[in-house]
């Protein structure tokens, strides 16, 4: 049992520290790499908590697909990451110390307070101190459960992915417009309608 605990604490430390490092990076590529480490750690945690299929999916979808998408966008857009100013941080203003403190310090303070309160809330509950017993849901059992009990949400999720696809295609389609009507791609219906009216 102590081995399980040890692995859990190690994983938790890795996940937390790499996520913290990720969100404080100014170089976005470094951020992606730290976040991939964090998602790998989460995948291992899922395995530890008895969800091998989800562990694989976490690595494939989060650390794989989503992060590669981010990396792709970061590489293709001209980066201004190194010049990014945090909220309220203005280099031309010398006397903005208090304002800067307010803008970055306040969210951090709020976050810490929230975390402490949440921690108190969580550990005020005696039920919460139960130890988790290791168990494992095999992918076959889980898959059967998913498609017997949850096939309807699975269908809805497929529509969600379809809408995501349509949106990405529509917004990413050629011709960013740049304010000129002529370069905006016209839908065929609009064209035919305009011809009909003319």
């Amino acid at each position: 049992m102590w081995l399980y605990s040890l692995i859990f604490y190690l994983l938790a430390a890795v996940i937390l520290s790499s996520t913290l490092l990720a969100i404080t990076r100014r170089n976005l590529v470094h951020m992606v790499i730290y976040l991939i480490i964090s998602f790998f750690g989460t995948g291992l945690l899922f395995f530890l908590l008895g969800a091998p299929l989800l562990a694989a999916l976490e690595v494939i979808i989060y650390a794989g697909a989503i992060m590669v998408l981010f990396l792709f966008i970061i590489m293709t857009t001209p980066s201004e990451g190194d010049q990014e100013k945090l909220k309220g941080e203005d280099p031309t203003c010398q006397s903005c110390g208090p304002i800067r403190l307010l803008h970055t310090g306040l969210p951090i303070l709020l976050a810490t307070t929230l975390l402490v309160v949440a921690g108190l809330f969580i550990f005020a509950d005696p039920e919460i101190r139960v130890a988790l017993n290791p168990a494992m849901a095999s992918p076959a059992v889980f898959g059967r459960f998913l498609f017997e009990r949850y096939w309807f949400p699975v269908e809805v999720a497929s529509f969600l992915l379809f809408v995501g696809l349509v949106g990405a295609w529509y917004l990413g389609r050629d011709g960013l417009g740049a304010g000129s009507m002529a370069r905006v791609p016209q839908s065929e219906e609009a064209e035919s309608e305009n011809r009909g009216e003319a």
């Binding site: 938790a12 969100i23 899922f46 857009t77 990014e84 945090l86 969580i122 459960f145 809408v163």
Partner: protein
């Protein structure tokens, strides 16, 4: 094995880190990353709860979280790239022309 509350607390900490990222960072890509971290944190809580209650419902929900995260990232990144192409900036502070 770890205590249930500790896993929930880990999820909570990740959620707060993600929320802080949304609040503090001004880069739109970083804001989107913050949301991803928050969604992932919810996944950890669901899986721990699934083990705690001995039911697979929590694990099933994580599948949907992954679908939602993927769709949201696809639309969000497309929106960011599209705005960046128009205004040349991915800093959230440049999007402030709508005022009363």
């Amino acid at each position: 094995m770890a205590v249930y509350g500790q896993v929930i607390l880990l999820g909570m900490m990740l959620f707060v880190i993600g929320g802080a990222c949304v609040l503090i960072r001004r880069n739109l890509i970083m804001i989107l990353i913050g949301v991803e971290i928050m969604l992932n944190a919810a996944g950890i809580v669901f899986i721990a709860a699934s083990l705690r209650w001995g039911a697979l419902d929590g694990q099933a929900f994580v599948i949907f979280i992954m679908a939602v995260a993927a769709a949201e990232v696809a639309v969000g990144l497309a929106l960011i790239v599209y705005c960046q192409g128009r205004s040349g900036s991915i800093n959230a502070d440049t999007y402030n022309t709508l005022k009363g």
